[in-house]
Subunit: 423 residues, 2 copies
C-alpha cells in the first residue's frame, strides 16, 4: 500500500444528500413485526395502523357536580320559581320528575339527559329544588368525546412515547404490533486495535463501542463484534457472517493511518455505492450494498466516525426499523469564534454550550427571540482535527455549516444540533 492510494478514491466527493439518497434507495422496512404488551412498548415503532376499538369515554358522563335530570323536567325553572324533583339513587334510572346526585366524570344515569349544577340546586329532604332550566345535553360530556370508536390513532412508523401508551391503553387495547428492533452488526477493524491494555503502537477500540451504543439509543439491536485485523479475507468473512443483519457497519481504527481495505472488500462482495463524501470531518466513508444489505464503512477518526454514523447509519437503521430519522432537537446559541469551512463541503463543528453572562435578563419568555431559555454561547471545541475523541465527548452538540457557506462568523446565531440527548 502506498501513501498515494489513500487519496485516490476521493477526487470526486459525493454530496451528503446525494450519498444518503443513494444508500437509502435500496432500503425498506425489514418487515419483521411482533405484538407486545402496551406497557413494554415505549420507544417502539408502530407496524400496523392502530384504530380505537372503543370510544373514550365509554359512556356519557357528568361534566359538572350536580344532579342528573331529564332536561324537560326543568323547563321554566328559574331562580324565583324552582322545578321540584324527587331525589333518587344514581345507580338506578332517572325517571320523569326525578334527579340523581352526580359528580364530575360520573356516568350519566340511564334516563337522564342533562345535569343541573349543584350551585343551582337546593336539597330539601327528599326533594331537589332546581333553580335553573337546562337544555338536553347541558353539562354532559358525550361518549367518544376524547376518542371516537374507530378513530385512527397511529399510523405505521410512529415511535411510541409514554403518553401514547396511556392513550392506547385507554381505548381498551392490551397489545400493539410493532417492528422488531433493526439488527445492526458493528465490526471494529484495525490491526492496531485492542480491547484493553494497549502496548506500544496499540490503541484501545472505542469506535465500535460508541457506535453500538448509538445503535441502541436509536432503537436498534447492536451486535458488537470482535476486532477484525486489516486483512481482506478476514474482513470479507466478518461482513459475510453478518449479512443476515439489517445493516452492517465497520469502524476503522482510531488513529493509525487508514489501510482502507474496506472499499475493495465491499466491491469484492457486492457493490460500492459511494466512496468519499463531501463532509468534514469524515470524508473517507464508504457506502455499499452486499446482497441487499447496506454496508457502511465508517472512518477511523473518532469524530469522523460519529459524524458519519449520524449522517448515514441512523437514517438507514431507522428506515430498516420501519420509521424515519427525525431531525435532532437544537438549541440556539451565539458563536463566540469563527468556524472555518470549505464551500461545497458540509462541515460539523463541535461546540460547547454555556450560559451567556452578557445576557442579564435570564427570565423566560415563550414569545420573543431570547426564547424560554437563557441565551447560550457556543464555543467550538477545536478548530480542526477529527481524531480527538474528547472534542466530541466533551461537547454538547455540533453546528452544521451547509455546503453553500464558507464558514460562520463569531457572533452568528446558530442552531446547535443535540445528537446525544438526555431526557
Amino acid at each position: 500500500m502506498s501513501h498515494d492510494r489513500r487519496d485516490a478514491g476521493f477526487k470526486r466527493r459525493t454530496r451528503v444528500d446525494d450519498a444518503l439518497a443513494t444508500l437509502l434507495d435500496g432500503v425498506g422496512a425489514h418487515g419483521r413485526t411482533e405484538p407486545i404488551p402496551i406497557a413494554e412498548a415505549d420507544g417502539r415503532v408502530v407496524a400496523e395502523p392502530v384504530d380505537a376499538p372503543a370510544p373514550v369515554p365509554g359512556y356519557d358522563r357528568a361534566a359538572m357536580d350536580g344532579y342528573a335530570v331529564r332536561a324537560e323536567d326543568t323547563f321554566g325553572a328559574s331562580s324565583r320559581s324552582p322545578a321540584v324533583l324527587r331525589a333518587t339513587d344514581r345507580d338506578g334510572d332517572v325517571a320523569s320528575g326525578e334527579a340523581a346526585r352526580v359528580h364530575t366524570g360520573s356516568d350519566l344515569p340511564e334516563g337522564a339527559d342533562a345535569v343541573v349544577m349543584i350551585e343551582h340546586v337546593e336539597e330539601v329532604g327528599d326533594e331537589v329544588e332546581t333553580f335553573d332550566a337546562v337544555a338536553e345535553g347541558e353539562n354532559v360530556g358525550d361518549a367518544g368525546e376524547d376518542v371516537a370508536a374507530g378513530q385512527r390513532l397511529y399510523d405505521p412508523g410512529h415511535v411510541l412515547r409514554p403518553s401514547d401508551l396511556g392513550l392506547l391503553k385507554s381505548v381498551g387495547l392490551r397489545d400493539v404490533t410493532v417492528y422488531e428492533p433493526p439488527e445492526v452488526a458493528v465490526i471494529p477493524t484495525g490491526e492496531e486495535l485492542v480491547q484493553a491494555d494497549p502496548g506500544p503502537g496499540q490503541v484501545i477500540e472505542t469506535n465500535g463501542l460508541t457506535v453500538s451504543r448509538l445503535v441502541e439509543r436509536w432503537g436498534g439491536t447492536a451486535r458488537y463484534r470482535e476486532i477484525v485485523t486489516d486483512d481482506e479475507a478476514a474482513l470479507s468473512a466478518a461482513i459475510e457472517r453478518d449479512l443476515d443483519a439489517d445493516v452492517v457497519v465497520t469502524t476503522g481504527g482510531s488513529s493509525v493511518g487508514e489501510r482502507d481495505l474496506l472499499p475493495d472488500v465491499v466491491a469484492g462482495l457486492g457493490e460500492v455505492l459511494v466512496h468519499g463524501v463531501a463532509l468534514k470531518p469524515g470524508h473517507p466513508v464508504c457506502l455499499g450494498d452486499v446482497d441487499g444489505t447496506p454496508v457502511i464503512s465508517l472512518p477511523g477518526y473518532p469524530v469522523a466516525c460519529i459524524v458519519n454514523a449520524v449522517q448515514f447509519l441512523r437514517p438507514v437503521q431507522k428506515r430498516a426499523g420501519g420509521t424515519t430519522a427525525e431531525p435532532f432537537p437544537t438549541r440556539r446559541a451565539r458563536l463566540d469564534r469563527k468556524v472555518p469551512s470549505e464551500p461545497g463541503t458540509r462541515t460539523f463543528a463541535r461546540v460547547r454550550l454555556a450560559i451567556d453572562d452578557g445576557g442579564e435578563n435570564g427570565g423566560s419568555d415563550a414569545a420573543d427571540d431570547s426564547a424560554s431559555d437563557p441565551p447560550l454561547v457556543a464555543t467550538p471545541t477545536r478548530a480542526s482535527g477529527s481524531g480527538v475523541l474528547s472534542s466530541v465527548a466533551l461537547a454538547a452538540g455540533w453546528v452544521v455549516v451547509p455546503e453553500r457557506r464558507e464558514g460562520l462568523d463569531a457572533g452568528d446565531v446558530v442552531d446547535v444540533e443535540l445528537w446525544e440527548v438526555t431526557e
Copy 2:
C-alpha cells in the same frame, strides 16, 4: 365530601418555581452507587470524579505518513541537497543516521524525534534521501495530546452518553462508578379505575402507566403499583409501604371528580409542603414530605398529570439520582392561533408541529433565523380541557406561557418544548 371542599385548598396558589424550590429543599442525592462496566453505562449518572489514569495517545506518534528520523540528521537538507539516511526497521530504535518508515498514527520509534513527510523523501535501495529539514517534534503528535494523564474528564452528576463511553474506554478505564437509578413508587388511585374491561362508570388506569414509563425514560426505576381505591386508610398504607423509595408519586383517577383525599393522607403521615400551584392545566397538585421521602400527588386529569410530573417529579427524581433536570430541547415554530392564559399562572399549551407550507425556502442555513430546519407551524391541540389524553398523546410538545404574560398571539414565534424526545 361536598363540592365546596374541592376548591377550598386552592385559594392561594403557589408559583411553580417556589413550589419546586420548596420541594427540592429537602432532597439530595440518594447516595447509593455502584461500579459498572463502561459498555453498560449509557444514560447513567457519574457518582465520583473521573480522571484519566493514562494519557491518550499513550505514546508519541507520527502525525504524517513518512520517515521517523532524528531531526538533527536532516539539518541542512533541501530539495537540491538531500540528507542521506539508512532505512531501518520501524520496530527497532532509530539511531543517528537512520530513518524508519511510519504511517499516520504509528508510534514513533525509540530514538526518533521527528517525521519527514513521504512527499519529501526518495527511497533508493537501502537509502532514504530526505529533501527537507525537520525540527524536533515536527510531524509528531505528543503523548497526551488528546487527553493528559490525570486530566479531569467528568464530574459527579454528568449523565453518560455513547461518546463518553468511548472516551472513558480510551483512557484505559473498565468500570465507572455511577448512582443506582432512583427508585420511584407510582401509585394509581381512584375507585373508578380498572386495569381493563371497564364497566359503566369505570375508567381504565392510564396515568400510572404513563408516569411509570416517564420515570424510566428519566433514568429511574418505576414501581408501578396496584390501583388503590379512594380510602384514607388504604392510601396511607400504600404510601407507607413505599417510603423506602426515593420518591413516592400518586396519580389521581382519569376522569371522576377528585375525592382529593391525598392532602389529608399526606398531612396525617408527614407534612404537606404545597397544595395548589399556579399552573395550568394541573393546579391541584400536592407536594409533601413523609419521613424525608418526597410524596407528590399528581392530579387525575391526564394532561395535568403529565404537566405536573414534568414540573415536579422529574427534577426531584433527577436530584435523588445525583444529577439535575436539564431543560428540554425545543423547536422554534410560529403559532397559528392564539393561546389564552391568565397572568400569574404558568400555562402549558399542547401543540402539534407541521412544516409551514408558506415558507418556500426549505433550504438549511445554520446561521440565519430560518435556522437549519424548515420553518414550523405550531397548532394548539385544544384551547382548553385537561382531561383529554389524546391532546397530549397526539401532540409534539407544548408551549410554556410564563406567568407575566397574558396569552400568546397568532403569529408569535415560540419555542415548543419537546418533553418526550425520540432520538
